[in-house]
Amino acid sequence: AQTVTQSQPEMSVQEAETVTLSCTYDTSENNYYLFWYKQPPSRQMILVIRQEAYKQQNATENRFSVNFQKAAKSFSLKISDSQLGDTAMYFCAFMKHVFLGGTSYGKLTFGQGTILTVHP
């Protein structure tokens, strides 16, 4: 079974500073997908950034970037120029494709989350 570990229960950062959230995972798969999701207080979960394991280049989305180390099974999220609206719980997630009866589907597993607070 795949496991996703986020070792930082809580992080805080000053507005406009940079913060890095850590994530490690355990899998024997070679092809998979990794995600960072954001869950603001009392609001729905949204995708922040995605990485496909076969791509060596780290994904970036505006102020968000990842450091994907496949051999180390590490997938950290860097938030640059932090904004107050970045305050949320962040989840690292792993997806592998499972083949069953002639079809395939994605199995999505989440870490325990990191609460990020951005201070003015």
Binding site: M45, L47, R50, V98, Y105, K107, T109, F110
Partner: protein, 116 residues
């Protein structure tokens, strides 16, 4: 913009009562997930559908929980009887069939269940 719809948003029920949650995924999404999220923790998969078929219900407490997606569109998750430990957020998510860019799961706003 297409969204995953869930209802109700909040539900308070007494233990031993039955409770049901409804989810309408984004149109055309073949995969539907039901997750349970205890406050301050990560979502835990309860059941996953591919079209109308259950493909993973290994973590679903089958003695009290049931889920269906009869026409491969909307889905209902039921708990009977509810227990105090069932208090949590129940999240529904959906995604397209396939790989690559189709792997993104879109989430609804969730149903917050409180069992008293």
């Amino acid at each position: 913009e297409a969204e995953v719809a869930q209802s109700p948003r909040y539900k308070i029920t007494e233990k031993s009562q039955a409770v049901a949650f409804w989810c309408d995924p984004i149109s055309g999404h073949a995969t539907l997930y039901w997750y349970r999220q205890i406050l301050g923790q990560g979502p835990e998969l309860l059941v996953q559908f591919q079209d109308e078929s259950v493909v993973d219900d290994s973590q679903l407490p089958k003695d009290r929980f049931s889920a269906e997606r009869l026409k491969g569109v909307d889905s209902t998750l039921k708990i009977q009887p509810a227990e105090l430990g069932d208090s949590a957020m129940y999240l529904c998510a959906s995604s397209l069939r396939g790989r690559g860019m189709n792997t993104e799961a879109f989430f609804g706003q969730g149903t917050r269940l409180t069992v008293v």
